[in-house]
Symmetry: C2
Subunit: 329 residues, 2 copies
DNA sequence: ATGAAAGCGCTAACAT
DNA sequence: ATGTTAGCGCTTTCAT
């Protein structure tokens, strides 16, 4: 049985209130009694019961985090940054994983609310006005990361669209004339929240438009994109770039091209997105887009805590990216 | 303001006790009043206050997880498995990261205890009898994973030693005669808990002993192992294997050998450990050891919950591994 | 400076 | 079947 304030009070021959004053060094207590109480508390290895504290204070100093999973490196890094920043600010973090199941996500939100978290960081698979109303029905602060759920909801993310647009610019400058875009998640368009993937796609399309090339962009949304590319004839007279919405797809493509004996970068180039850490072990080194994922986590926590403690979210501008020059372009 | 049991009671003209009976469908309540109450509860979007429940029940249905970080893929996968299994059993998970700081780890434990978690899963950086006594001073169940803290503490892990021993056997069968072992974490031997790394090392040494080769094993514990290997003369008449305690080191070694123009696998082979998912993008394909990391997380949760709910840990045998044949040996 | 009492929201034992 | 009461461990207000 853990020792309680009452125990200490009994032993010291004082009331619970006085013990409380000593432990939380509140004013109105004699220095000596305070010392006596603290000594006993220490001897008995007293630890405050946070649950009781939370109940009376109406605050748990806990954040809920909702992610798809931790298999994706980016999510893991995001989570890592969130935990660090949160605890730095005296908050603990509940982690909940939805596996991209919209109902599971709702389930998570409701559980977190029941557990009285002070705020939620949400990487959402749901989206739209109805979902926005649903979120509003819980009156606790919720901040979204990466995937916007609607235009106005508080959000921390990066300039995805501009990043992909710049990537296209880079490719055009390098002399590429034909473009294939690979992004299997686009298959879920209209079904689940794939905001970031959509943004990247639009960036790609806008990029092409701005240079007035390839009116009909080639977009591969199929899960078996490798099979599709397997049949592709890369020996055209055009210098072709395969632009991928994530590094993992790009790595698969690189591997395929190696198998097909296509020289990279030669007639064909490959562009990734994310700059995952394992790229350094792969040759040719993939050209990709880097963005400060840990910053997103950290900023989201800061903004959320600001909302919790001072009732206003921080105004966090979209974070910037950087094109990492490799050898695949 | 969230709606409370009292609100419902007032509206329905009954007592809080009756509302409680309705909501938690406990016996001793008229079907009609029950229906009436549930209807109102639903209309008002009533959600039980978990903090209050926890306080009175003396149980939070929460597990604490303590890990180094989530940058390491294995840790992330472990965490993923833990969350899934925990919530499947009605538990939520606090994630806390220590960054391998022993004091931070203690801090985490104490905070988790204060927050009345029902149990803790600990990937420990501390170890030894003193630490064991420290852990015992909290009377909540704590289960360790991967790193043992002492011989008797409840633990879920894999047959690391045997795995590495088998790896050596495999190498000997493939005709390797000379062995270099790479494991920078060994530098922390005696300082922090590197149980798994030690086990792998002993497995390596035992393996060599059993074949009576290389009395003086070559062990590189330096952080700059690459610099050391850079100076190495791999052109000896002996077929040499570089055995690495983690895939990441092996990948670095592979890259170095590529740079040095050493043919792999020819005179030199490289062996990894972990089978991280990105191996499939690297050529030559690394030969490595695979183990069921998600199973460890899942088993740890099961055992811990068994202890919480039925007062006995499960008896989980050390999990098995598998040598994955690549092209680097 | 200290004690007593009420209350956070809920559950559970005891009355009626 | 329903109401009443006490209490989980702590904080806070009001007396003294």
């Amino acid at each position: 049985m853990p020792v309680k304030i009452k125990d200490i009070a009994r032993i010291c021959g004082v009331s619970a209130g006085t013990v409380d004053r000593a432990i939380n060094n509140r004013p109105g207590i004699n220095e000596n009694t305070k010392k006596r109480i603290l000594k006993v508390a220490k001897e008995l290895n007293y630890r405050p019961n946070y649950t009781a504290q939370s109940l009376v204070k109406g605050k748990t100093s806990t954040l809920g985090v909702i992610l798809f999973d931790l298999h994706n490196r980016s999510f893991a890094q995001l989570m890592n940054a969130i935990e660090l920043k949160a605890r730095e600010n005296g908050y603990f973090v509940y982690i909940t994983l939805t596996d991209k199941d919209p109902n599971n996500e709702k389930q998570c939100i409701e559980y977190l609310v029941e557990r009285n978290v002070d705020g939620i960081i949400l990487f959402s698979v749901n989206r739209g006005n109805e979902f926005e109303d649903y979120l509003k029905s819980f009156d606790i602060p919720i901040i979204t990361v990466f995937n916007k759920i609607s235009e106005n909801w508080d959000y921390v993310g990066i300039r995805e669209r501009q990043a992909m647009k710049d990537a296209v610019t880079h490719l055009v400058n390098k002399g590429y004339e034909r473009f294939i875009y690979v992004s299997p998640p686009l298959m879920y368009m209209g079904k689940t929240n794939i905001y970031t993937q959509e943004e990247r796609l639009y960036g790609f399309i806008e990029g092409l438009k701005s240079f007035n090339i390839q009116e009909e962009p080639i977009i591969i949304k199929e899960k078996n994109y490798i099979d599709i590319l397997k049949e592709w004839n890369f020996q055209s007279e055009y210098k072709t770039a395969v632009v991928c919405s994530c590094d993992l797809y790009a790595l698969e493509v690189l591997q395929l091209l190696k198998e097909k004996g296509v020289n990279v970068p030669g007639n064909v180039g490959v562009m990734g997105f994310d700059n995952i850490d394992v790229l350094k072990y792969v040759t040719p080194r993939l050209t990709t887009v880097e963005y400060p994922i840990e910053q997103i986590g950290s900023d989201a926590v800061e903004s959320l805590i600001s909302k919790i403690e001072h009732d206003h979210f921080l105004n966090i501008p979209l974070l910037d990216y950087k094109i990492i020059l490799g050898e695949s372009i």
